[in-house]
């Protein structure tokens, strides 16, 4: 009998890092030309599994077979020869090199004649790969100059290029590919995946269950390093997946819509005529106490810039912002902070917290003067300890204590500390930029609960997010931005939330 060799097999794979078991007894079979979705919480073992497959990490026990041949682990270059490519969430591109160089990165040897590179040949191949994928990017452009979404596409081209250079059918692993893509770019990616499945096999790792349902044939769930289920996509539902990932049934209302506060108080922030050339113009809005105002827009619509402007990180050239009646100096994070505005930025590890310092140090940073005893400028350890322990308890943060290093906390717990940082300063308005990015389902639910509680306590929230269903679910009102201008406003009361398509119509 002619047995079709699977593209990828993981046979009883275990991986231990010291006392931590990252993968246990993982058995996986991936047929050629299929798209497998891989879901699971942060820390479930998805990244380790990717590393085992692409050869970066050697399994403690078990075998990996690619197209029937055993993978010589610990040699990512060899994995490359076998056609395994990974496209990461945090980009694997070199910014100062041109696109064609990035697409063929590491494979330049194939284009060398006695040590001299044939640039013309490289550009030609890159151009061919791009046009086959129907991606419109100039291969000679400097990669760093391209916007984020386009760079993501270059990475995908890099993965597909393997099939061009080596006589293999690539196995492409996409790690959270849509997290930072706009709606149109996501659709483009899905179209690519559908077109190319005839020539490649794809593993699609994602937190966005809706994406997994749209483009995958099968889905595998990981929890605590073990496979908790594998289903054909027709047989899976979001509830089944949620339970396999989190270990408990999905709560009735994911976005806690029943807890939405429907009677906002007085106006907290008022913006009139905000303008910043190239980003946004003529922006006027009000945010009330206890209200969650969502700002929707595609990438480049100006919503990120607007969020930063409200938080004082960037400076509009025109316009006025008043908080509780008093005008706030524009473009000054300090002025915004003094006015009671707290900012949770998108890049958590870059602008939200200091990984090498402790939870306590991070928590107390915005408010250090308050912990000085009396008139002397000396910090009181007792005061700091009290505050740190209070927030660890109140927000149920999982950490070994207030002295734990921030970098040791998981994404969700770290995000809670970022919130706590501001809460200690009596914030009246939060500007949140994609607060649940990269968080697992369980952590998201906890943040949603936190937001509902904040609203109940009278805090005003401005929420900027690419996740439209999250935005609709959480907000009281949504403003849509297109090319820097406000195009529409929608009421989104709980019980009569609009469809995504309604909102999208004003975004594009």
């Amino acid at each position: 009998m002619d047995r079709v060799v699977p593209a990828l097999e993981l046979i009883d794979v275990h991986k231990r890092f010291g006392p931590v078991t990252a993968l246990r007894s993982v058995n996986l079979v991936l047929e050629k030309h299929s798209v497998l979705g891989l879901v699971g919480e942060n820390g479930a073992g998805k990244s380790t599994l990717i590393s085992v497959v692409n050869g970066t990490v050697r399994p403690t026990l078990g075998t990996v077979r690619v197209n029937g041949r055993e993978l010589n682990a610990g040699h990512p270059t060899e994995a490359g020869y076998m056609g395994i490519a990974t496209v990461f969430q945090e980009q694997g591109l070199v910014a100062n090199l041109p696109v064609y160089e990035n697409i063929l990165l590491g494979r330049e040897g194939k284009f060398a004649n006695a040590g001299f590179l044939s640039v013309g040949e490289m550009v030609k191949v890159a151009r061919e790969v791009l046009s086959e994928l129907e991606i419109e990017i100039d291969p000679l452009a400097r990669t760093g100059d391209l916007p984020f979404g386009k760079r993501q596409l270059v990475e995908i081209a890099k993965a597909f290029a393997l099939g061009r250079i080596y006589p293999v059918q690539p196995i492409i692993m996409l790690d959270e590919p849509t997290s930072a893509l706009s709606e149109s770019e996501t659709q483009l990616l899905f179209a690519l995946i559908r077109r190319w499945r005839g020539k490649a096999t794809i593993i699609f790792v994602s937190h966005h269950l809706s994406d997994v349902f749209e483009v995958c044939d099968q889905v595998v769930a990981l929890k605590d390093g073990a496979v908790t289920g594998q289903w054909d996509i027709e047989k899976a539902t979001p509830e089944i997946l949620h339970e396999a990932i989190v270990g408990r049934k999905r709560s009735e209302a994911y976005y806690k819509e029943s807890e939405q506060r429907e009677n906002p108080g007085d106006i907290v922030l008022s913006a009139r005529g905000l303008e910043r050339p190239g980003e946004f113009m003529d922006i006027s809005l009000d945010v009330r106490s206890g209200e969650i105002l969502g700002i929707a827009g595609v990438m480049g619509s100006g919503k990120a810039a607007l969020a930063h402007a409200l938080a004082g990180s960037i400076r509009p050239v025109k316009g006025v912002i008043t908080v509780n009646g008093r005008a706030v100096a524009l473009g000054s994070p300090n002025a915004a902070l003094r006015a009671g505005i707290g900012f949770v930025p998108a890049e958590r590890n870059d602008s939200g917290l200091i990984g090498m310092h402790s939870v306590e140090w991070n928590l107390t940073l915005p408010n250090l003067r308050a912990y000085c005893a009396g008139n002397l400028p000396f910090l009181s350890s007792a005061a700091q300890a009290e505050v740190a322990n209070k927030w660890l308890r109140k927000l149920r943060v999982k950490a070994t204590g207030r002295k734990a290093l921030m970098s040791s906390l998981s994404g969700g717990n770290a995000q809670k500390i970022v919130f706590a940082k501001w809460l200690e300063r009596d914030i009246s308005l939060f500007v949140l930029e994609d607060p649940c990015r990269g968080l697992d389902v369980g952590a998201k639910e906890e943040i949603y609960s936190l937001l509902r509680q904040l609203a109940k306590d009278g805090v005003a929230i401005v929420l900027v997010s690419d996740n439209l269903s999250e935005l609709i679910g959480l907000s009281n009102r949504i403003i849509t931005l297109k090319s820097g201008r406000i195009t529409a406003e929608f009421g989104t009361p709980s019980g009569s939330k609009p469809e995504e398509t309604t909102i999208i119509a004003s975004m594009v």
Partner: protein
Amino acid sequence: MASAATVQDSTIKWMIADWAKRNLRSFYPVIVIFALLVFFTARNPNFATLNNMVNIGQQSSILLLVSLAGTFIILIGSIDLSVGAVLTLAGVIAGLIINEYGIAPALAVATATGVLVGLINGSTMIVLKVPSFLVTLGTMSILTGITNMICNGSSIILLNYTLTDFVNARVILGIPNIVVVTLLIAFVLILLSYRTVLGRHFYAIGGGEKVAASSGVRVTRVKIIAFMLSGGLSALAGVLLAAQVGAATPVAGSSNMLLDSIAAIVMGGTALSGGIGGPHRTILGVLVIALLSNGMDVTEVNSFTQQVVKGLVIILAVASTIDRRKYQFIK
């Protein structure tokens, strides 16, 4: 399949190794100090005498001051290469003023000069966006030139002996005053870094500048204060050195001082990338360098060999204590 027993063993071994690795940074200087004491005492019993220790203290006080100056700059993630040059210039200025106007004006003007240089270093870095490495490299050269212009190649002898006598006198427990003064200053700086808002701001900027800025830290102001502090301390060191020796020479802060101070800072455990460490660690680092230098002197090691040894020790120190998780790629 690994048996339960071996899994248990390896877990414990791993736990011990992890604990050791994490605390190595704190223990390393102490271990080295102990090793040096043992090693050199074996070669020359005079090494571990009280007399010699006092000697070492006296010889390394200046290095400690300069290293403390550099510590704050490294803490915020920058570097100050001009510390040696500031020291020299301050010594010369103090020498000129003290002979005619007395101690107080000499101290004031010399220290003010150091603070001014710090202000220039910090402002240039921030306003012109020139990396601190390059700004202070330039300042180093400029100040050396100015010093040579003032001195015209010769030294300035301090005719006012009061300060010299004070610095070298031993009022408390037979410890030279210069050591006492330096340790007092170190103590104040330790208080500053760990117990004041300004100190915490230094750590915050070094740990994550963007985060610090968005948390309300006035980054520009704090950075400039750090440079002014560094300049002031280096200048003070220069005045004390001139007083200790009795003369201000244009080569007082020769290249060894800069290198030794950076070696001491790193050896003590302050990360070059900033955000971790501090003056308490620098004290240990200086002790290592001082014991090493004195030990090699006392055992009559060739001065060129000493340089080789020092270099090796630095590399070893950084290699053993660098937190490799923080640097994925060493450059």
